[in-house]
């Protein structure tokens, strides 16, 4: 079984923000919510580095550990998802996440914090596949269409790789050997350095 991961190659990212736009377009993410963003270090200086950041779907996800209402679950592909019908928008996951992935839409006249929104690895959520409810709450379910996340697939320089961990790690290894530098993968150790936490048993889910 594939273990889905993201890999951001700082040597290749040109800060085009194509991944951010693709994510926004694919999932029709509301204004003010950025499931993915590009972070640039030493911006404007020679040797600046950019990386595309979103939920990394960690092996042992800290958001899952701190959620007081246990609305998170992990699919058999290792994608960390959550049930928005249970989320209370407390924001604990935002404080726990090392990548700042959880986003909170500002709803209403007084800017009330809404239910948490984050990258789903384009895997939808706990609603019937391709349903209007799934799209409205979680965005498009590309994984069920046999596709990978839009951000990674559209990346022009292939700086952002997404998919089966073994395959993308092989692609990256081959790339590093060819160019002879830049073997450091930003966020990889933080996200996947700890042992894999087994997917939580979901009552009624088909295996």
């Amino acid at each position: 079984m594939a273990r889905m991961k993201f890999l951001a190659d700082a040597e290749r990212c040109i800060e085009c923000n194509g991944c951010v736009t693709a994510c926004k377009n694919e999932n029709e993410v509301p204004w003010g919510v950025n499931r993915r963003r590009v972070v640039t270090l030493n911006d404007g200086l020679p040797g600046e580095k950019s990386i595309s950041v979103a939920c990394m779907h960690c092996s042992d996800a800290p958001c899952m550990a701190v959620c007081p209402v246990d609305c998170f679950y992990k699919t058999t592909e290792g994608v960390v998802l959550h049930d928005k019908d249970i989320c209370i928008g407390c924001g604990y996951c935002f404080y726990a996440c090392p990548f700042g992935a959880p986003q909170f839409p500002q709803d209403g006249a007084f800017g009330l914090r809404g239910k948490m929104d984050k990258c789903t690895f384009c895997a939808g959520g706990p609603e019937p596949d391709f349903s209007a409810a799934e799209f409205r709450k979680y965005g498009r379910n590309r994984l069920a269409e046999g596709k990978l996340p839009a951000c990674a697939e559209q990346c022009a320089t292939k700086a952002l790789l997404g998919g089966d961990a073994d395959v993308i790690a092989d692609i990256y290894r081959d790339r590093v050997l060819k160019r002879g530098k830049g073997s450091e993968v930003w966020g990889w150790g933080t996200a996947y350095g700890r042992p894999e936490k087994k997917p939580a048993a979901q009552p009624g889910a088909k295996s």
């Binding site: 594939a2 679950y73 895997a123 596949d129 997404g162 395959v167 088909k206």
Partner: protein, 77 residues
């Protein structure tokens, strides 16, 4: 007088004991257990109709498509 105290105590005791039978009114979350709705597998979608092998094949093709060293034709020397 003593009899009155005994009768009074017998009447009050059930009221005090009734407090012990109070049930918790807050939702109890099972720590570490997902509380939401179940999600189905990606290969259970209309497109793959439960064919896990076909889904994995489609995903693998997409995965390998990200490797431009393989995708691009080797340069002719």
């Amino acid at each position: 007088m003593k009899r009155l105290i005994v009768i009074g105590a017998a009447a009050v005791l059930p009221l005090i004991a009734a407090g012990c039978g109070e049930k918790a009114t807050v939702t109890v979350y099972k720590q570490g257990q997902y509380q939401g709705k179940p999600d189905n597998q990606p290969w259970d979608s209309e497109q793959f109709k439960g064919d896990k092998v076909a889904w994995e094949k489609a995903i693998k093709a997409r995965n390998l498509g990200q490797n431009e060293y393989v995708r691009a034709a080797p340069a002719a020397n």
